[in-house]
Amino acid sequence: MAAMNMNQEQFKQLIREEKPVLVDFWAPWCSYCRRIGPAYEKIGEEYADSLAVGKINIDEEPRLARAEGIEDIPTLVLYRNGKAVDSIIAPGSKAEIDRFIQEALAK
């Protein structure tokens, strides 16, 4: 499943659900955000059973991005039971995102 672009309400609802949620905070002008895009879509497919995978455009949701303490993009945050478990800024490879998810899920 392709990563869903979320607004604030969708985000708030999704992170309350049982499945952990991975969120990519990004913006259209951020070229490194585009670079992680293809790998992120692949992650969405590979982890479809264990994770909900979404994206938040910080230009469209600036207040949400501030509230979540996002100072740099791309930042990936893993949420469980409504809370942020861990985050990673500008991962350098798909394998690094894989490692981040596995470590965050084990916490």
Binding site: A27, W29, C30, S31, Y32, R34, R35, I36, G37, P38, A39, K42, E71, D72, I89, A90, P91, G92, S93, K94, A95, E96, D98
Partner: protein, 309 residues
């Protein structure tokens, strides 16, 4: 991916050199796979606008050009995998590349691993990345709207970064260790005419000043040795590139800068292994020279495969 399938060609790195090799290989009927850690394009994918790649009269952004190269290679049957290469055995038969997703075997290997930004090499640099220290103005420049930034370097990318930032930031201070820019002339005039760009010649960054995030830099004058402090919100490091050849150390001949020694034929010190693009010793590192390397590598690889049946 732990099977015994042997590809004709493993391409390590999905930048312009790698995907051109994949295009030529696939069109030559070679069974080819590109192993890329993140997405197509390499350094080019972070370039906002490419105006010196022929055929795009209005310029094109690097990410889109990379996607086009990937799709073009895949149209002829080349495959791509998003994997991180962990280890290579280039003299084995077949040649072996171990990745985060298993082992890949190939009759030939094209190394198109490119280069990465060189670091300043001062204390706390790594921990301040994303908190004031940046390597890509096109990526992170927008966070410094209305703020003061330092750009370190004097080459084309430093000049381009300073120009880009001058349109976003309140003030740009260009710090260079020599007394004149190495960048090509086209950058000099717009930079010197920009009202918010200041130059600090003969200067190097000796320390990063920070609390939770960067608050300034300490500069050392390379002539007098005097130190001074410049308050700033961000520092953009643009002091050149470093070839991504860590995995080739001990196997391939490298030059003093760490680049893989290979001439116009792209042949390395190991038969059947080719180095293309920025990772190779060459006088000019550009998209257009990288793609040329990709084509030449396949020409040589076809010969090698025919002779080693």
């Amino acid at each position: 991916m732990n099977n015994n399938h042997v590809y004709d060609m493993l391409v390590v790195g999905g930048g312009p050199g790698g995907y051109t090799a994949a295009l030529y290989a696939a069109r030559a009927g070679l069974d080819t796979i590109v192993l890329e850690k993140l997405s197509a394009g390499g350094q080019m994918a972070l370039t906002e606008q490419i105006d010196n790649y022929p055929g795009f009269e209005d310029g094109i952004d690097g990410f889109s050009l990379a996607e086009k190269m990937q799709k073009q290679a895949e149209r002829f049957g080349a495959r791509s995998e998003y994997v991180e290469v962990l280890r290579m055995d280039l003299t084995a038969v077949p040649k072996l590349v171990e990745t985060s997703e298993g082992i890949f075997l190939g009759k030939t290997v094209v190394l198109a691993t490119g280069a990465n930004p060189r670091k300043l090499g001062v204390a706390r640099e790594s921990e301040l990345v994303g908190r004031g220290v940046a390597y890509c103005a096109a990526c992170d420049g927008m966070f410094y709207k209305g703020k003061t930034v330092v750009v370190v370097g004097g080459g084309n990318s430093a000049a381009a970064d300073a120009l880009l930032l001058s349109r976003v930031a309140k003030k740009v201070i260009l710090v260079h260790r020599r007394d004149t820019l190495r960048a090509t002339k086209i950058y000099h005039e717009p930079l010197t005419q920009a009202e918010n760009v200041e130059f600090r010649w003969n200067s190097v960054v000796s320390a990063l000043l920070s609390g939770d995030r960067l608050t300034g830099v300490r500069l050392r004058d390379t002539v007098t040795g005097e130190e001074s402090v410049v308050d700033c919100d961000g520092v953009f490091v643009s002091v050149g590139r470093q070839p991504a050849t860590a995995l080739a150390v001990g196997q391939l001949e490298l030059d003093g800068g760490g680049y893989i020694v290979a001439g116009e034929t792209t042949e390395t010190s190991i038969p059947g292994v080719y180095a293309v693009g920025d990772v190779r010793t060459k006088p000019l590192r550009q998209v257009v020279t990288a793609v040329a390397d990709g084509a030449v590598a396949v020409h040589m690889a076809e010969k090698y495969i025919a002779e080693n049946r």
